[in-house]
């Protein structure tokens, strides 16, 4: 039985909810059990956003992620808040353009990706989120161009089809980042 719990967090507008939705959709397309739960409370109104995603081979119990196996922290308040919650042996992805400090935990694996800078340098607007997701998928050994293309086709509405390419580029850029 395999289950992975993800927590995405950052400022509102960084595409936190979308990044989680993409991952949940990808899981669903691969016939896995999935759940996606956004924060919608007072903290959201204060400008920070987070969402819980669970991918599982069994039906998902609680959709609330309190001990993430994978944490994506796209700003400092998120890292400060959730670093201690990560499960031992877990993985933390940090947007190192916006988070200057290092992760203190020694029992987790950390990847520092200057995603916001990479997005700006490559004319990818605000797709730092997808750059990190690209890296995340490659680290988890789940980067699969076909599945990614199908999933993007589902989560991006036909009206916004012009965004397919940039999203694919952002994911690729993240996956290739060493």
């Amino acid at each position: 039985m395999s289950q992975t719990q993800f927590l995405f967090s950052g400022f509102g507008g960084q595409g936190i909810l979308f990044a989680g939705k993409f991952l949940a959709y990808k899981g669903m397309m691969e016939d896995r059990q999935v759940s996606w739960l956004p924060s919608y409370g007072p903290e959201m109104r204060g400008g920070t956003a987070s969402c819980s995603v669970i991918l599982s081979d069994e039906p998902v119990g609680s959709p609330i992620v309190t001990r993430p196996d994978v944490l994506v922290a796209m700003n400092l308040p998120s890292l400060d808040k959730f670093e201690s919650a990560v499960a031992p042996g877990g993985i933390i992805f940090v947007d190192s353009t916006l988070v200057e400090r290092k992760v203190q935990r020694t029992d987790v694996t950390t990847y520092y990706i200057p995603a916001t800078k990479m997005a700006a340098d490559n004319n990818l607007g605000n797709l730092a989120n997808m750059i990190i997701v690209g890296k995340l998928l490659s680290v988890l050994g789940e980067y699969d161009a076909d599945s990614i293309a199908t999933t993007l086709g589902k989560v991006i509405s036909a009206r916004k089809a012009n965004l397919l390419d940039v999203n694919r580029t952002a994911l690729q850029l993240g996956a290739d980042f060493e």
Partner: protein
């Protein structure tokens, strides 16, 4: 099987309502259920339906009364404080025997409370909320799929018994996304000979009304209604049993609390503790039969709730107080963690069933 889509619970309710033939929605925005209204606003005009944002919750529920009287399927949705405002209309609809679907995506209370998930409208939903002798069928979904399927079921039950069916969800259920299949059969045509939809000069006119000034006439309507309620109690209770085969401790939870409890039960089972769960799917009628049976087998019950323990009364009534019922709860918009529920289970197990 139709393709599954990833949807928020609120959106699943709205889409399922449309599948069930509902073409009239009246509401007023309130977190955390606003996606229902937003979805209806987008969809209804395209399919010849009616979406109307009323000037208040009170207005919305009275619009529901009006459309229901014409025999059409109709719904409204709100969250806790908004449902309190609708209570008068709910009582009037009960008094006029009008079917409707009402959705409550609960948030913390009392008063304006907060906007985070809660289950503290249990009494309000299962005991009526408005004045007078009446009941509502109360359905408690625990997944996005159930948000959809119980919506369809709710419309069917409402029409069948000429009463309000309520979906009692919470903020988590409304906001979370899960894969959902919306492959529902075409709704069956329900005959409504009582509807005020025009006589064509071929029949006596129908009257839909909740005013009965003659006490004997009013008493008769109450007795007739309670015969129907008694039948519903016998025939419409729904529940899920989870790992109850050899359980010595019985957790009881509905909605989001049951999801958290499942994690805790699986963890406790790994530690060798014989624990299971009865999850009521209908809160009214409360599923008495499985509790009655469990009361002879288990040492104790633990009610896991996002309230101050409002469901405990129903568990005690169903089990005729044969075994102790303990409470494991959080309130005010906080959801108990699986660890908190596990701790309650472990403690009950160590103390021979006592918390």
């Amino acid at each position: 099987m139709a393709e599954k889509v990833l949807m928020k619970g609120n959106e699943a309710i709205a889409e399922a309502a449309i599948c069930a033939g509902c073409r009239h929605y009246f509401g007023y925005p309130i977190t955390p259920q606003t996606e229902i209204a937003a979805y209806m606003a987008k969809k209804m005009p395209k399919i010849g339906g009616c979406f109307l944002q009323a000037e208040s919750e009170v207005a919305a529920i009275n619009m529901v009364y009006g459309v229901s009287a014409t025999g059409k399927r109709v719904m409204t949705s709100s969250s806790s404080p908004g449902i309190s405002l609708k209570a008068e209309g709910l009582s009037y609809m009960a008094g006029a025997d009008l079917p409707a679907l009402v959705v409550n995506v609960q948030r913390g209370g009392p008063g304006l409370g907060g906007i985070q998930p809660s289950q503290s409208d249990y009494f309000q939903a299962t005991r009526g909320g408005g004045h007078g002798d009446y009941r509502m069928i109360v359905l408690a979904p625990a997944s996005v799929q159930e948000m959809a399927s119980l919506t369809v079921k709710g419309f069917d039950l409402a029409d069948k018994y000429r009463m309000t069916a309520m979906i009692l969800a919470d903020g988590t259920m409304g906001q979370m996304m899960e894969p959902v299949s919306l492959d529902f059969p075409e709704p069956e045509k329900v005959e409504k000979p009582w509807a005020t939809n025009g006589t064509d000069m071929a029949r006596e006119h129908n009257i839909v009304n909740s005013l009965f000034l003659q006490p004997d006439a009013l008493e008769r309507t109450n007795f007739e209604r309670y015969e129907r309620y008694a039948y519903i109690e016998q025939h419409e209770a729904m529940w899920e049993e989870y790992r109850m085969e050899d359980a010595e401790i019985c957790v009881t939870a509905f909605g989001i609390a049951s999801r958290v409890a499942k994690n805790a039960i699986n963890e406790a089972r790994k530690q060798g503790i014989k624990v299971g769960m009865i999850r009521p799917i209908t809160l009214w009628p409360f599923p008495v039969a499985p509790f009655k049976a469990a009361a002879d087998k288990v040492k104790s019950f633990i009610s896991v709730e996002l309230s101050m323990g409002q469901m405990i009364e129903d568990i005690k009534l169903a089990t005729e107080c044969k075994k102790p019922v303990y409470l494991c709860n959080r309130a005010g918009g906080i959801i108990p963690s699986p660890d908190e529920v596990l701790a309650a289970i472990v403690k009950a197990n160590e103390n021979g069933g006592d918390l």
